[in-house]
């Protein structure tokens, strides 16, 4: 039924201490599509997304079981270096977290730590990625200004550019527009639609309309469980589960 599967989550369970946060998750995320994980707040969608690049490792009492296959490799039980796995996935958080350095270095950082330090190469790449997120014209004269001086919308685009610069295959976005003004949000959404021809995008959102605008594939979660998943058309036009139906009607958030 599905084209290439990029990420396959199998029997994933996650506990924070005694709390059972993710319950028996089985999800398939198609390659080079936008997969939206939606659901009311506290349903575990952010946690699910963070387990994909194992940021849940940072949590003091998180326990994971099950498997997450990315391109067939189980990243929960791999001998592969975790930094390599994380590099494969760009992260866009709920609010932008620019690095405490200037605009140029924010993008150069990821390239430099992976060993590419040639000045001319960096200059070219940085211009390329800033253009890709429509930021170049706004910042080309002040690349040496601190990133913190940009507006929140610009910062979020900078974070997207920074993530793209390290050549990921997957983009993980956790409500990336929730802190942004409508115009910046729109820019990000448009970018996603462009980017999906090259990247697998996983978007966590609680904005139903956003999901409808850009989703190809939808995973609906409720209280730590996946209630329903399928193509955007299936879910939005013809949901099978009652919970999905009432969520889509706006009966709960």
């Amino acid at each position: 039924m599905m084209e290439n599967v990029k990420i396959r989550i199998k029997d994933l369970n996650l506990y924070f201490g005694k709390q059972h946060i993710l319950k028996n998750i089985n999800v398939e995320i198609p390659e080079k599509k936008i997969t939206v994980i939606m659901g009311p707040s506290g349903c575990g969608k952010t946690t699910l997304m963070k387990s994909l690049n194992r940021l849940t490792d940072l949590n003091p009492d998180a326990r994971l079981s099950g498997s997450i296959f990315i391109d067939g490799e189980d990243i929960l039980h791999t001998s592969e270096d975790i930094t390599k796995i994380r590099k494969m996935m760009g992260l866009l958080a709920q609010r932008p977290y620019p690095l405490p350095m200037n605009i140029y270095n924010n993008i150069a950082y990821g390239l430099r730590i992976s060993g590419r330090k040639n000045k001319r190469f960096l200059d070219r790449r940085i211009e390329h990625y800033l253009r890709q997120v429509n930021l170049w014209d706004e910042v080309k004269d002040r690349l040496r200004d601190p990133a913190g001086a940009l507006s929140i919308g610009q910062q979020q685009r900078l974070c997207l550019a920074r993530g793209l610069a390290v050549d990921p295959e997957i983009i993980l976005a956790d409500e990336p527009t929730s802190a942004l003004d409508p115009i910046s949000s729109q820019t990000i959404e448009e970018k996603f639609l462009e980017l999906k021809s090259n990247y697998t995008i996983v978007l966590v959102t609680h904005i139903l309309r956003q999901a409808k605008r850009i989703a190809d594939h939808v995973v609906f979660m409720y209280l730590g469980e996946v209630v329903e998943q399928g193509t955007a058309r299936e879910i939005f036009e013809n949901p099978r589960e009652d919970k999905t139906k009432s969520y889509l009607k706006g009966l709960f958030y």
Binding site: K50, L58, R86, L91, Y97, P100, M101, N102, G110, I113
Partner: protein, 285 residues
């Protein structure tokens, strides 16, 4: 009810005002009395010469030995403490983020060490010196003072690192950096202004402490030329001169205190300037 609230508000306002004034007056009095007593004895000779024959009887000479000794000692120990302290603080906040209990344990131990009086550090340093057969020296003093200020430095840097949001760590890790790269390239940069303040705080403690160096650094009228020689220090110089029955020497004690305060003032102004410079790139979360 409304009246009661008003009285309460007024009471705390007066209380706050009084304590502020009290603190300000105390500070002013300290500075004033030291200026008043010390300023007349300050001379170029005082800060440019080592003690001559009859210095401790009010004759000529100066406290250059103590000034230089104190600078050696405090810079040396602050440097040493930073070399050990900064990595520890970063380690606690980046690498050990999963191990909350362990980190809190370390914090508790450091807080205990912070509370240990400096004379105990002096006694500890002295015991070790006796055990190893080392005499009082600049090196022994530096090591003792380093032990004394490490808890102060680590905990102050730790407090600066704590509020760095998890999101910044996640952002940096997602770009494929290791935790150490995140520590030194991201967390360090983000908190550098605060780290400078923390280091400055430790420096102030290092240069101002008398008890920890009483047995370990010794005292001499000469400027030390190697780490194995004894060294004079400003706090001890103040102590010795103040305990003299001769009024001129007592006055010089205040002049020495003035020099000490001046050094701390200069260092803190410099650190402010540095802080401002590095604040530029800091992100306000």
């Amino acid at each position: 009810m409304d009246r009661l609230k008003k009285i309460e508000e007024g009471f705390f306002r007066v209380l706050m005002f009084c304590s502020t004034v009290l603190i300000a007056i105390t500070l002013f009095l300290i500075i004033f009395s030291i200026l008043y007593k010390g300023l007349p004895s300050i001379s170029w000779e005082m800060i440019s010469q080592v003690p001559k024959g009859g210095f401790y009887f009010g004759k000529e000479g100066g406290i250059l030995n103590a000034i230089v000794g104190s600078l050696y000692l405090s810079f040396g120990s602050t440097f040493l403490a930073a070399i050990f302290g900064l990595p520890l603080a970063l380690f606690m906040n980046v690498h050990l983020i999963r191990h909350k209990k362990l980190v809190n344990g370390i914090r508790y131990v450091l807080d205990l060490l912070w509370g240990v009086p400096s004379i105990v550090y002096g006694a500890f340093g002295f015991a070790i010196m006796v055990y190893l057969g080392i005499r009082a020296s600049l090196l022994a003093g530096i090591i003792t003072v380093t032990l004394f200020i490490i808890p102060i430095m680590v905990r102050s840097i730790d407090e600066v690192l704590k509020p760095v949001p998890r999101g910044l760590l996640e952002a940096s890790l997602s770009l494929g950096s290791t935790r150490s790269e995140t520590s030194y390239r991201v967390f360090f940069k983000q908190t550098l202004p605060g780290i400078i303040t923390a280091v400055m705080l430790s420096f102030g403690r290092a240069i101002g402490d008398a008890a920890s160096i009483l047995f370990t650094a010794g005292y001499t009228d000469y400027i030390p030329t190697s780490l194995h020689q004894q060294t004079a220090t400003l706090p001890l110089s103040i102590f010795f001169q103040l305990s003299s029955p001769i009024p001129e020497v007592q006055q010089r004690a205040y002049a020495s205190a003035l020099v000490l305060i001046f050094i701390i003032l200069v260092i803190s102004i410099l650190s402010r300037l540095l802080t401002r410079k590095y604040q530029r790139n800091q992100i306000n979360f």
